[in-house]
C-alpha cells in the first residue's frame, strides 16, 4: 500500500519579493511526514488570479491533497478563496455559519464586522470550514483542497484541527549516520547500498567544519527494520562505531 500524496501551494507576493521568509512549508512538511502523507511538490505563486487557478487545478488533479497557505484575509490582495472557487467552477458568497463565527469576534467595542471583514465569510459552495481558534476567520476544505491562512501561527493552528480528520499512511521513519568522510569518497559505496535497498530513500548531505569535510547519510522509509538494516550497512561499510 502506498501512502497518500500531497502538494502545497503558497500564495503571496511577499514571499516571491523576498520580503518575508516562508515558514509554513517547513512546518507542513514535518507534520505530513509524521502522519505518513508524502509531500511531493510545493509551488509558490503570486497574488494573480490565473496563476492561482492554474496551480490549484494542476495540483488537485495530480495529488491526493493540496494544502494552500496565504491570501484569505480581508484586504484587496486576498484573492485565494475567489480563485479556488473559480478553479472548482462553483459560486462563492458570504455563508451564515462563517458570519456567525466571525460575529463572535466583534461583540462591540472598536472593531466591527464591516464590509472588509465580511470578505472573510465568503466560502465556495460545498466547502467545509476549517477552524481558526486564534483570529476566528475560518479556512475551508473543498474537494481535496485545504485552504488556510498565511500567518504562521494561524496556519499551524488550522492544521492542528484539520490533520486529525485526514487518513494518513505508514509514518516514515528515518535514521542518520554521520561520516567524517568527504561526500565524493562516500558516493561510490553508498550507491551500491542504495541499489540494495530500493524501497528506501537514501540521501547524502555534505557538511564542512574546522576538521574538514563530512557527510550525513539519511535513510528514510516506512519499514523501521529495513531502515535500521540499511543504517547498519552504512556504518559497517564506512567503519563507523
Amino acid at each position: 500500500m502506498t501512502n497518500p500524496t500531497a502538494a502545497m501551494l503558497v500564495i503571496g507576493d511577499e514571499i516571491l519579493s523576498g520580503r518575508t521568509r516562508d515558514a509554513n512549508m517547513y512546518h507542513l512538511a514535518g507534520r505530513l511526514t509524521e502522519m505518513g502523507i508524502d509531500l511531493k511538490e510545493v509551488r509558490v505563486v503570486s497574488d494573480d488570479a490565473s496563476e492561482i487557478v492554474d496551480a490549484v487545478n494542476g495540483l488537485r488533479s495530480k495529488f491526493d491533497h493540496v494544502f494552500t497557505s496565504g491570501g484569505i484575509g480581508p484586504t484587496h490582495d486576498d484573492i485565494t478563496a475567489d480563485n479556488v472557487a473559480a478553479a472548482f467552477g462553483v459560486p462563492i458568497g458570504p455563508r451564515q455559519d462563517a458570519i456567525d463565527i466571525l460575529a463572535t469576534n466583534y461583540p462591540g467595542g472598536h472593531t466591527e464586522l464591516n464590509a472588509a471583514r465580511m470578505r472573510m465569510t465568503r466560502i465556495p459552495e460545498g466547502a467545509v470550514l476549517i477552524d481558526n481558534p486564534i483570529s476566528k476567520a475560518p479556512g475551508f476544505t473543498i474537494g481535496n483542497v485545504h485552504v488556510m491562512a498565511g500567518v504562521p501561527k494561524i496556519f499551524e493552528v488550522m492544521l492542528d484541527g484539520l490533520l486529525p480528520k485526514l487518513t494518513g499512511g505508514d509514518p516514515v521513519v528515518s535514521e542518520s549516520v554521520r561520516l567524517n568522510i568527504p561526500e565524493g569518497d562516500v558516493a561510490g559505496p553508498l550507491g551500491l547500498i542504495a541499489d540494495a535497498f530500493p524501497t528506501l530513500s537514501i540521501g547524502s548531505y555534505p557538511f564542512s567544519n574546522s576538521e574538514g569535510y563530512g557527510t550525513n547519510i539519511v535513510m528514510r522509509g516506512t519499514r523501521a527494520s529495513l531502515v535500521a538494516e540499511a543504517a547498519e550497512k552504512v556504518r559497517e561499510t564506512f567503519d563507523v562505531d
Copy 2:
C-alpha cells in the same frame, strides 16, 4: 518596459520531507528583487527524473530565467544535471574544462578525483559553467536555465558570479507604513488606494502584539516617486505621523 521574469526550481527530497529548511528561496528572492528581475514562481520537486524534466520544461518556456538549486553533487541521488540535459534533449558527459577545475581540488593527499567525483564533471552539451570558488564543482547555464548547488553557501557564491552577467530591470523599491489598526479596519480604505495606484503592488500584513492588532502596509514598484506618493496617501488616510 517590463522587468525580466524568473522562476526557481528547488530539487530535493530533504526539503519535502521536512528534514531541511530551505534557505535558498529567500536568498534568491531578495537578490533578484534588488536587480529588477521579477521572481514569479517557485517549485520544489523531489529527486525524481520525470518531475524534474517536466518542471524544467514548464518553467523555462514561461519565464525569462530559471534558477535551480540542489542535486548536483557526486552521489546516486544527484540527478539534476542529467535531467536538465534530458529536458533540453541534449547529450551529457564529462567535460575537460570541468575536469581541469575539479582536478585542482585534488592535487593528491587523501582525496582523489574518483568515479563519483567525475559525476560532477558531467555537463550538458552547449552549457556554460558557473564558477564555484568554494568546493570547485561547477554549476552551469544552459539556455535560460541556471543550475546551482543546494548547499546554501555554495548556492550563494555561485549566484555572486552569475547575477552580474544577467541583464536586470528597474530595481523594485518599497516603502512600509506601520499602522496600529486591525487589518479589517484598514482593508476598505486601502482597497481604494490600491485602485488609485494600479502599477504598484500594495500588500497588507497583519501582526499582533501585547498592545493589540496592527497592520504593515508595503508599497512596491519601480517608480520611487509613485511609491512615495502612495505611502504618503496611506499615512494621510490613516492619520499616521
